[in-house]
Symmetry: C2
Subunit: 437 residues, 2 copies
C-alpha cells in the first residue's frame, strides 16, 4: 500500500473509531451517527474493508464495528436493495418485510467478513477459543435464515409458478439449499476444534453466497412478484408469513393492512398481461415456460372444502383406510359409529357393532374404565388415554382421544390402534436423500 | 365300592376297551361304534367316569378314551344341547353352528376331566413331564374357545340388546371372561413345573365352567335369539361369523343359505311381540330392562355411508384432525390437495401450497426421489416408502403410502408424519385394567 493511502486509512479509522465509541457509550448518539454517516459517504467503498481491518487490529470489538456496518449498509441500501422496479412497495407490506429481512441479512453477511478478518489476529489458544465461541453464537442466530427462504418457497413461488414461471423458483430454491448447507457446514466446523484456514474459507463463502442471493431476490424474484401479484395475493402471503416467522425483524402491530380478500394460488385465473410482461426482469422473461398458465383447481365437483384443502368422500375414506392405524369412532351419544374396515385387523371389529352403545362393546370387568375416560373427555379434563399390550407377538399401542368440532365442542371419542413392533428398530436417520429402493 | 358293582364296572370297561381298540385299529369301525353306542346306552351315566378311570389305570391312552367320550356326548346331545325351544334350527344355520361348537366344547370339557384322572397315576418324573406336555398341547387347542364367545359377544348380543335385553348379555360375557381366565391360568400352570393338585383343581374348574356355560347358552341365550331374530339378522350373523372363525368345526360349502338381505342391529325397528315374549326363557323375561327397544340410528341426516359406519363431513374431518399424525394428500394429478391443519405442525405447511404440483413442493435436490416413489405407487410396484429423521430433538417417522379407491385404483399418495420420540419408552404392558388416572 502506498504510504499516503495508508495514512488516509489510518486517519479515517481513527475518526470512525471515535464516533463508534461515542455511539457505543451513548454520548450524542444522533450527532455521532450523523457524523459517521457523512464520513462513510466521503470514503471510497473499497476502503471500507481496509478500515475495518485496521479497527480490528486496534482491538475494536466486532459488535462495535457492526454499528458502522449497519450504517454502511443503510447508506447503500438503495443501491443494493431494490431500485426502480420495487418503487411503491408500502412499508411493512409482505414484500417490504422480505426486503427488510434482506437488509438484516446483508448486515450479517458483512459481519461474517468481519469475523473472517477477526480470525487473522490470533495469538493464544485461549483467544482462539473465545473468538470461535463468539462466531458460533453468531452463526446460531443466523439459522432463522430458513424462515426468509421458507416464506419465498412456500408463499411467493406458488403464485409465480401458477403463472407459468417455474424455472426461476427452482433455481432460487437450489441456491437457498446451498446457502443453508454452507451455514450448517460452518456451524459444524466451529463446533469442533476448527482448522482456521478452512473456517475462514467457509465463512467467506457463506457471506458471498448470502449477498449474491440477496442480489438475485432483489433484481429477479421481488420485481417479478411486485409486477404480477394482486393485493389479495399479498394479503394471503401476509396472513401466512406469521406462521413461518421472520429473520431478525419484529413486525409492528400497525403495519400494512388491506381489506382485500385473501387469494390462494389456485384461485388465480388471469394469465400474465402484456403490461405486466414488460415489467418482468429479462431473466424471468427468458426463462418462462411455454406451458403458460396453470389452470388446475382443487375445487372439484363432489369435493368438500375442508379446513385445509378439498376432498371428496371417496378420497376422505380412502385416506382413512390407507392409514397404518385402526380407528374406531364413538359418537357424542356414546355409540360406535365408524371403524376402519382394514383387512387383517389387530382387533377384529364387526359390522354388527355399528350403533352399539360403547358400554356394551367392552367386557363387564373393564367397562367402568371406558366410561370414566369418555366422561373425562366430555368434561374436558383429559386429552388422551394410552395403553399398550403385547398381542400375538405384536406390540400394540392403543390411544383414545376426544374428538372436537371447530367450536371446540366434544363430538366423540376416537380409538387409535397402532402396531409399533417395528418402531424399536428405528435408529439414527433415513432421509429422503438416502432413498435407494 | 361294593364288590359286585366294581365287577360290573371292570367288565364293562373291558368290553369298551375292546370296542375302542377295534375302532382305533380301523377294524369294522361302524360295527364297533354301533356296539359301543349300545353299551353306553345300557350304562348308568354316573358309571361312565368310573369306567374311564379304570381304562386310564389299565393304560388306555386319552386319545383312545376320547373316542368313547365323543360317542357318549353324541348320545346325550339331545339332553344337553337344546330341547324343544331350539326345534327347527336348520343344519349349518349360524345358530346350529354355535350349537355344533358347543358339542365340540362339551367333548373337550369331558376330556379335561379325563386329564384330571390321568394325573392321578404318576409314578416317575418322566411320566409326569410327558403327561403335562400332553395336557399343554391339548389346552393350546382350546384357545379357539375365544372365537365361540366372540361370535356371541359381537354378533348375537347386539341383536338382543337392541330389543332391550341388556342384562343377560352382560352376565354371559362376565362368565365367558372368567372361563378364558381359567383357561389362561391352567395354561400358565402347565408351562411351569406345576403343582399337580393345583393343576387338577384348575382343570376341573375349567371343565365345569365350560359345561355350565354350555348349559346357559343352550337354555337361555340360544332360545332367546331363536325366538327373536329374523332370517335377515341370521344372514348378517352368518356373513360375519367367518371373519371370527369357529371352535373345532369346519363349515361345509353347501351349508345353510338364505336369499334374505342382511339386517344390522341398528336396522331392527320392531319391538318384541307378544307371541315372541311367551317363547323367551323365564330368566330373560325376568331380567328385561324397562328401557325397552333401542331406537338409535347411525344413519343421521348429513351422514355418509362409509365402508363401515356413517359419518358426517364434520365428523370425518374432526377425526382426521384428532389423529396424532400429520397427513398430507397428493391427488391423482400429483397435486397437493389436503393437509391436516394441526397447531404445532412438525413440518409447517401453508395454505398457499394447496393445488401445487408435488414436484414444486420439494427442494430440487430431492425432487427426483419423490417423483420416483409416486411413480412406483402408480405402477403398483411399491406399498410404502419410509424415512425417519431427527428434528429439533424429536424423532420423526415419515411414511408415504399409495391411496387406492374401492376398485383398487391409485387415487393419490398420502404422507403420514409421526413424532415417535416417546415410543422408545413403551415397554411391557399397560392394559385398560391398569388405568388409574
Amino acid at each position: 500500500m502506498e504510504e499516503d493511502k495508508k495514512q488516509v486509512i489510518e486517519e479515517n479509522a481513527k475518526k470512525i473509531k471515535e464516533k463508534i465509541k461515542q455511539m457505543h457509550d451513548n454520548q450524542d448518539v444522533e450527532e455521532a451517527k450523523k457524523q459517521l454517516r457523512e464520513l462513510l459517504v466521503s470514503l471510497k467503498p473499497w476502503d471500507i474493508p481496509l478500515i475495518e481491518q485496521s479497527l480490528i487490529k486496534e482491538g475494536t470489538t466486532i459488535s462495535q464495528i457492526a454499528l458502522m456496518c449497519n450504517l454502511h449498509v443503510e447508506l447503500f441500501r438503495e443501491h443494493v436493495l431494490g431500485g426502480e422496479s420495487l418503487k411503491g412497495v408500502p412499508a411493512w407490506h409482505p414484500l417490504d418485510v422480505l426486503i427488510k429481512e434482506n437488509h438484516q441479512l446483508l448486515k450479517d453477511s458483512e459481519k461474517l467478513t468481519l469475523y473472517v478478518k477477526y480470525l487473522d489476529n490470533i495469538s493464544t489458544e485461549e483467544e482462539k477459543n473465545r473468538k470461535i465461541e463468539e462466531i458460533k453464537d453468531f452463526l446460531a442466530t443466523m439459522f432463522d435464515l430458513k424462515k426468509h427462504y421458507f416464506k419465498q418457497q412456500m408463499l411467493l413461488f406458488p403464485y409465480i409458478e401458477r403463472r407459468g414461471i417455474t424455472a426461476v423458483p427452482r433455481v432460487l430454491w437450489a441456491k437457498e439449499e446451498e446457502i443453508l448447507d454452507k451455514l450448517k457446514d460452518s456451524m459444524r466446523e466451529v463446533k469442533l476444534d476448527p482448522d482456521i484456514a478452512k473456517l475462514k474459507k467457509n465463512l467467506m463463502g457463506l457471506s458471498t453466497a448470502i449477498s449474491d442471493q440477496i442480489f438475485r431476490e432483489t433484481n429477479i424474484l421481488y420485481p417479478t412478484c411486485w409486477a404480477l401479484l394482486s393485493e389479495g395475493e399479498w394479503v394471503a402471503i401476509q396472513n401466512q408469513s406469521g406462521l413461518i416467522g421472520y429473520y431478525k425483524i419484529d413486525l409492528p402491530s400497525n403495519g400494512w393492512k388491506s381489506e382485500m380478500k385473501a387469494i390462494n394460488p389456485y384461485e388465480v385465473e388471469e394469465a400474465i398481461k402484456g403490461e405486466q410482461l414488460s415489467k418482468l426482469p429479462m431473466e424471468v422473461r427468458n426463462s418462462m415456460s411455454l406451458v403458460g398458465m396453470d389452470n388446475y383447481t382443487p375445487v372439484k365437483e363432489g369435493a368438500f372444502k375442508l379446513d385445509m384443502g378439498y376432498l371428496s368422500i371417496e378420497e376422505l375414506e380412502s385416506i382413512i383406510k390407507t392409514l397404518p392405524f385402526e380407528l374406531t369412532f364413538i359418537d357424542g351419544d356414546d355409540r360406535l359409529r365408524y371403524f376402519t374396515n382394514n383387512s387383517n385387523m389387530i382387533f377384529l371389529r364387526t359390522e354388527s357393532t355399528i350403533g352399539r352403545k360403547v358400554e356394551f362393546c367392552h367386557p363387564p370387568s373393564s367397562v367402568h374404565i371406558v366410561k370414566k375416560i369418555v366422561q373425562e373427555f366430555k368434561e374436558g379434563k383429559r386429552d388422551v388415554a394410552e395403553f399398550w399390550i403385547n398381542m400375538n407377538g405384536k406390540k400394540v399401542y392403543i390411544r383414545y382421544f376426544p374428538v372436537k368440532n371447530k367450536k371446540g365442542e366434544y363430538i366423540g371419542t376416537l380409538e387409535v390402534l397402532q402396531d409399533i413392533t417395528s418402531m424399536a428398530n428405528i435408529q439414527g436417520e433415513k432421509r429422503l436423500m438416502d432413498f435407494e429402493n
